[in-house]
Symmetry: C2
Subunit: 210 residues, 2 copies
DNA sequence: TAGATTGTTAATCGATTAACAATC
DNA sequence: TAGATTGTTAATCGATTAACAATC
């Protein structure tokens, strides 16, 4: 694989967010045994502009062939590598309600390097249970697990009123990224990355846009 | 409530997405019996720029008082009305797995006008079950329900491989908005609004941004 | 070859931020 | 009154889109 120049981390968030869709299309092309795929084709499948696809793909360092397109295998590798989806990312889920359980089973995670190694809940009847081979522990074990297992991502699906309290524990234990599925605005030190998955804001878009 | 001029629907998507957070802060202020709140205070609670908050709030038609801020009750009403959260929106959930079940129970929906009146599943052992007073029906009833009950929003949480098939049924029955929780790019006619809730793209951001 | 596609440089578009007069 | 905050107009910033030469 020729990476030629290493393009700095100059990918915008919108670009990063589109890459998984490209990867979907490309993986499907690979299943169909296509050797080569053009930005034009990817764009039309996703109803995007070809120029946007080309610009986005460029950040992964891929080099295409004029008139032909991109080598499918090479492109798959380039995107996976750019996204770090070719490496394991240890994660935990905090709160094993329906949402937490759904996320543990989400196929798009495991397929792409996310390794959920444990879940946590404060309810005694959930502790000790096993969800798709993921063991549920008591909250008191949270801190220890983060420290000992070098967890990268904490997926937070507890009820909103406990969100900040749990976050404080996570931060003290040295977590580096929190995926926040609650409606709470979390207060964290600047070195901790919080990504908010905000269903209310999406619902707002639906409500306004008809 | 003085709405003065009716500002066209010239709110950007990012603005619309921020409004629910403002509403959260404002509702909390109301619980504390505050009469008035400034954009500066809202901004600092959410770690945003005051100018952004003022600009965003302006789209709701609210008029503040220099040196004082906004009337809390008036502002709450203005945002709720702008978002159409003061009206009922009939919705259905298709696919009552863990994710569908979680969404049926999501408090931020019911509180803000979303009225989930039914759910659908293809598995016989789920049909007839009751989740938080929401009845699960067989998929064969889907089309009829949409037509008879004037459903506005279909929340799609079926496995990806059935997403397009179900979508076709929804579109044929005359749905106007689909909230797509699958990874599938849905093909719909241009008059149907599809909002994709894309966990893969968020996971990509987390993976790249450390 | 002719023509489709890439990749780069420039133009456009839209959202965020800054500046500041008006105001209570 | 003095000073904090609003709301408007202008400037900046960044992402998307357009144009086009290079190329296989």
């Amino acid at each position: 694989m020729k990476n030629k120049k290493f393009s700095q981390i100059d990918a915008s968030i919108p670009t990063i967010r589109r890459l998984p869709s490209y990867l979907n299309v490309i993986r499907r092309a690979l299943e169909k045994d296509l050797k080569v795929i053009s930005g034009t084709v990817i764009a039309s499948e996703l109803e995007l502009e070809p120029i946007q696809v080309r610009k986005d793909l460029a950040v992964t360092g891929i080099v295409g062939k004029p008139r032909v397109g991109y080598d499918v295998k090479e492109l798959k590798t380039a995107i996976e590598s750019f996204l770090n989806w070719d490496k394991k990312h240890k994660a935990i889920v905090i709160g094993t309600g329906n949402l937490g359980t759904a996320l543990i089973g989400y196929p798009g995670f495991r397929q792409n390097g996310m390794d959920i190694i444990a879940s946590f809940d404060s309810s005694p009847e959930k502790v000790g249970k096993n969800i798709l081979n993921v063991q549920t522990y008591d909250m008191s074990k949270l801190s220890e697990m983060i420290k000992n297992e070098s967890i990268e991502i904490a997926i937070l699906t507890v009820p909103s009123e406990f969100a900040q309290e749990v976050t404080n524990t996570l931060v003290d234990a040295g977590i580096s990224a929190i995926w926040n599925f609650t409606n709470e605005k979390l207060k964290v030190p600047s070195e901790v990355l919080v990504l908010r998955e905000d269903l209310s804001s999406s619902y707002a878009v639906l409500s306004v846009c008809k």
